[in-house]
Symmetry: C2
């Protein structure tokens, strides 16, 4: 096991991976979505798509990027997440509270929200398949959000 070992080398790692094979895949993904592969977009896409399904807020993602010395502003995180949503790379999830959550899994599925730890997670099975929903006349369904709010037994009382 190896630690990162200091500011400089972390910076190099954060910078260097942008030339690697992972970065090439991400560039392709961005290009397919007609988004110019800028440093910042590649960095953020890296964080989002490297490790399976993720659920993050803009603030969280920004902190993560900073911890890895990826130079980008909070505004860019917000902009980029919005663009990624618009391009269908990720999706928004409506949760209680004032914060918007982003989910890298764009398929049809539902969420648990842990109110104590403020964490969002996928529900393994797709519950929405069981729902028989019809749009009222004159309307079209643009999305279905199911969120199951949880409290862990300690927090509960």
């Amino acid at each position: 096991m190896e630690t990162f070992g200091g500011e400089k080398s972390r910076a190099r790692i954060a910078y260097d991976w942008r030339g690697g094979p992972l970065a090439r895949m991400i560039r392709q993904r961005l290009q397919a979505a007609r988004l110019r592969p800028s440093r910042q977009r590649i960095s953020l896409a890296g964080l989002l798509f490297v490790a399976g399904d993720r659920h993050v807020t803009a603030e969280q993602l920004h902190r993560e990027a900073q911890a890895l010395d990826m130079p980008l502003s909070l505004a860019t995180v917000y902009n980029t997440l919005r663009q990624f949503v618009a391009s269908g790379l990720i999706r928004e999830v409506a949760v209680f509270g004032s914060t918007v959550w982003y989910d890298t899994n764009t398929g049809s599925h539902c969420h648990y929200f842990d109110e104590g730890r403020q964490r969002l997670e996928d529900i393994p099975s797709d519950l929405t398949r069981d729902l028989k929903i019809a749009a009222p006349p004159g309307y079209r369904i643009v999305g279905v959000d199911v969120i199951v709010r949880l409290r862990d037994d300690e927090t509960l009382q």
Copy 2:
């Protein structure tokens, strides 16, 4: 058909109903929830519970109260709605966007959200009955929110 006919008489109506039979029922409801029946709480409960199921934001409710010359501040509307939620008189609904919605129907049911007109409505049948949800070990389910987002055909394109 009769109009309200001017500021004064609207003010009297808004004030006077607080002595009537409706107000008595609302007082009882507040008392049952261990909330002191202040003018403001009675006024707001009146707006919320007189006319069947309602879906409102704090801002909307405040405007409504002002239009009826009920004297109360926006902060009170926010406080009161939070207390009503805590007492189980109403419930919150998680919707996209930064605004919290309140629903006077506390039973298990789902919602349509009209994104064009920004309006929330109950879905007649209770879809959640079809959902087979289990809490992960160590957790308890404190609520299930299903919101079906709609666009009307004009707004759509």
